[in-house]
Symmetry: D2
Subunit: 345 residues, 4 copies
């Protein structure tokens, strides 16, 4: 078993990491790190466990350490997962990478830096070669790899197979689950019987991250893809699962059937424990996908796509994926698995 | 007081008509009509009253009559409101119009017929002149006027002031309230913790009705507006209030400030009891409008618009309005008021 | 594998039976029966599948037969599960029992008849001996066994271990999930942002069924338990999981710790695939159990109990269980398993 | 107009005070007080307004002052409303009372002190005479009066008319709205599709406050009522309106009709702007009251009661009232109105 640690282990994302990793066939959690408020406590005392599955007993009794490299002095961690908030990740992840740790981060802090890989394995795992650039330029022993924002991942998995038709422009309207805001992020009084048509920073992420992910390696950086994206992001009273209405305008004019075929033919090319057999599942019922019914496909790692229909300027369709699994924690774990499988680790 | 009747008085829309009309300064409900199941009963026995305000006592005891012209033989109704489902409205409304009744209908059955006015008073009340065409062509003593679909009304009120900039294309994603499906239309098991990305017939209505409403009278019919619309319609767990994310592409390129000014300058031009002082309210807070907070502006008759922002191909913004008031019953009542005010009745 | 059929296979309860039984190690679904509306169709065409797990392919293509004994003329079914509504079950179940079928029914129709076993295996599986009485008295080749109402099961599993303290009176207030009303039973407009303090027939069931279940076999019938129950039943906006606030008054005055110990010591005495290791799980956190977090314990078969505290007249506590699994379909399947294990089948 | 101020003006309860008082015929808001975080700011900048009705313009521009008596040195306030949290109210309210201010407090801090009136005007406004005791004993120029906890008020309004039958014991299970926890009190992830069977301190309040309110003045304090109460308190996904299932055991055995008559005959005895014509409304429909439909009766000041039915040991029924209006802000305002009307102010 490889040894892994979690930065930010006590928050909502950290808990999901524990949930996913505690039954992982390759990884064993040996270190939990968090802020001063939690450091020194047993995990069970440092957090209020909020998931539907019980907190594993072995984790309950582990000591939470302070999230700084000194805490892991004699540790032989293979991978460090980061569930830190962006503002804290900015410094802390750098400190750990500098100290030699290999970090798979869910934080947004470093995603758009030219020498940091921003990867969805089914889409652009060749971008991991930026690790070499990063280590050389920064003089780090370790490195940082990142996965995209939750709503970005759901969309990009559907855009990848459509790249062959020459994407010119994408419009997307999201209906995002409350879990994306973190456990205390959204008061019940704000969202019951309501829609909030704004999520801070989300539209910018959806309009920029996909262009890096779908771009091509060009020497020491990525040449971003050349189309445009316009996003409108909204919060709805749903627990898990982001639903996205997507319009795509193409240079070539694929038929609806060609688009459906592209979705159906889209395959994973690497077999690891968390990678789903089908990254995309095309649904033909007129009222699917739906978050409550479809968010747990392949343990939450498959994105469901449906209602593919012709549009005045291209096609439109619905995509839906589990935001905290496929869109966050599962994405980080999958990235780490691919690192291992391909020998980066 | 003018005498009014309600076709389909026992359903969810019929109840809203009673709620709005029972305190109306011009109109007095004198006839309630419904299907065989209810005909002959007192209103209180024919329906389960479901609104937050109590069923007026005078209505409770009124007898429900069968929805056919023979039931109103010696009646001197001034206006007949129709809350019928589309499939029933198709025949019944024609029977009543033929028998001399003046019908303000919320049903979709006749909206797109060339000689039937489809009107939002703030937008195209000049289309009421089709009444003359209709009566002449069909040989009716009465007539039918209609208001658009709920999601159409919310959008069109925001498009009207933008027509001056030369609209080329509109994309719209809706997040629609459950009340739009009628009282039993949507099981709780379908929508709790869920989004349903499909509403039968809704996208077609949103893509066609606005072109007639925003079109120009041209002799005996309306020349439809010449832009295109692409809609994606979704149901969310909200009781009342449709939220719409709208992208508009223009021939001319108005700035965000010009678009905001157009919204702010948009005025009603006719003063009747149900017409709101401001048909549009521009909100500047970054997270508004929201259905729960803003759906009752001006008694539910004002559409709130916000988050106007630049887009790669034009502007994008959020519109939100009360679907069963501004989008249905209030729209029918407002149409009837304007008929009266302008002498059609 | 034993062969089983499902009466009422196309409804919400019928779908849950298919979900549970399609991976069952002992039972294989060989017959699906429903009303005239569905008879003759393939299952996939006869119903709209509404569960989170996909409809098994082998079931999709099975033909639905008319729910009458003639449909199963040459069938060699071992057990027939009934998911019928009570009013239809009243006649149809009798027809099948008379024709020799062995029925494990979730319907309420026959529960309170003296010679029909009403059983929760962990509580009163000795009542299955009424099968002999039933067959003899009625001259049937087959028989009917039943499980209690969903809210009854959750409560009775917690009352059983307290019987030793001499229960005198029970008060119970329920907060019941919408799935208990069936798929279309509760419109979203009725329950969003609301509580409905009434469920037809529910209080009567909760006040009578437990007395039969907790009663003692006395010759050819059951001598009902001698305490009283007063229930107040309410529907809340929760998908699955009934939460119950329970007060118990005792002849002897057990301490809170004695009551907790009785809950913890309560064990299943029979090991079958669906029987949970722990029928009751005592939770010590002050805000548990909660339906969303705890309803899937042991696949939905464990009832969680918490907040045990002293009361002026006894103890009070919270019980919560999955209403359509532990409280319905799982209960019927478990009854059938025990029948098999103990040789009734 | 009398001049009033609000302590804790920027929180959720403070906002409700502003909403209610800004159209009050007797009171004019002249002072807004809050913590250091808000002091010195304009009200519009100090808070995020969250109510459905717009923030009055005159209030928007008012300066928020620090919540200490020095801030009101030359003020001539007639009444000071307190929307403070309990822990802060404990000291701050005393400081203000000591400095001569007359405080109508919604905070729980001082409710149970023997010389502080805990009043629901329709129930025990004679307890206001404790003001004299309080001023004398404490040497204050001002004084503090309090209203009960939200769930207490709803219940006590229904218990008062039943006192004539000799109440022996009360059981109550609550289904409480999320607004009772304050704006950020309850994360959406905690309560969507869920019930939380615990509200800190709530059961204790419901089991003690009613005995003081329903007690009798006895010299310098109140002799508490002599029955017992057992409460189980639960949070449900409802925005406003607490629903309570109540069982009452009597010494005398009133019939259901006698209990209903007592509810119907219960009258307010004092006419002020906020006092509802009917403090209690008896509903006869089998599924009422419901929070969404009935919480706004008489502007949220009437408690609805229904489902009165016989029980093994007395009667049981459902009570429902608006928790932030009748149960909080409206209660404080009503208390102040009665003070004025009866000459205490």
């Amino acid at each position: 078993m490889m040894k892994v640690g979690i930065l930010g282990a006590t928050g909502a994302v950290g808990q999901r990491f524990i949930q996913l990793l505690s039954k992982h066939p390759w990884f064993e959690i040996t270190e939990l790190l968090a802020s001063e408020r939690s450091a020194g406590k047993r995990y069970r005392d440092a957090t209020k466990w909020l998931l539907e599955t019980p907190l594993p007993e072995v984790i309950q009794e582990m000591e939470v350490k302070l999230a700084e490299p000194a805490s892991l002095k004699n540790s032989d961690l293979d991978i460090l997962f980061s569930a830190l908030p962006a503002d804290i990740a900015r410094k802390v992840e750098v400190d750990f990478a500098d100290a030699g740790f290999k970090i798979s981060s869910n934080a947004s802090a470093h995603r758009m830096e030219p020498d940091i890989p921003l990867v969805i394995p089914e889409v652009n795992r060749d971008h991991f070669s930026l690790i070499e650039v990063q280590k050389r330029k920064r003089g780090w022993d370790g490195f940082i790899i990142t996965n995209p924002n939750c709503s970005t991942i759901v969309m990009v998995l559907t855009l990848k197979p459509l790249m062959e038709f020459g994407i010119e422009h994408v419009n997307v309207a999201t209906m995002q689950a409350v879990s994306g805001a973190g456990y205390t992020g959204l008061p019940s009084m704000a969202i019951l019987d309501n829609v909030i048509p704004y999520i801070g920073g989300e539209e910018r992420k959806m309009e920029t991250e996909p262009l890096k992910i779908l771009g091509e390696l060009d020497g020491e950086s990525v040449k971003h893809a050349a189309f445009t994206i316009s996003a409108s992001c909204h919060r709805v009273p749903v627990l898990d699962g982001h639903t996205e209405a997507i319009w795509v305008k193409f240079r070539e004019k694929p038929s609806v059937d060609e688009v459906k075929k592209a979705f159906m033919d889209f395959k994973r090319e690497i077999d690891t424990p968390t990678s789903p057999q089908k990254p995309l599942l095309l649904m033909e019922q007129e009222d699917r996908p739906q978050p409550r019914l479809d968010r747990n496909l392949s343990g939450g790692m498959t994105v469901a796509v449906g209602r593919v229909r012709e549009d005045t300027v291209g096609v439109k369709y619905i995509a839906m994926g589990h935001n905290t699994i496929r869109g966050a924690v599962g994405a980080s774990v999958l990235n780490a698995e691919v690192l291992v499988k391909e020998g980066w680790q």
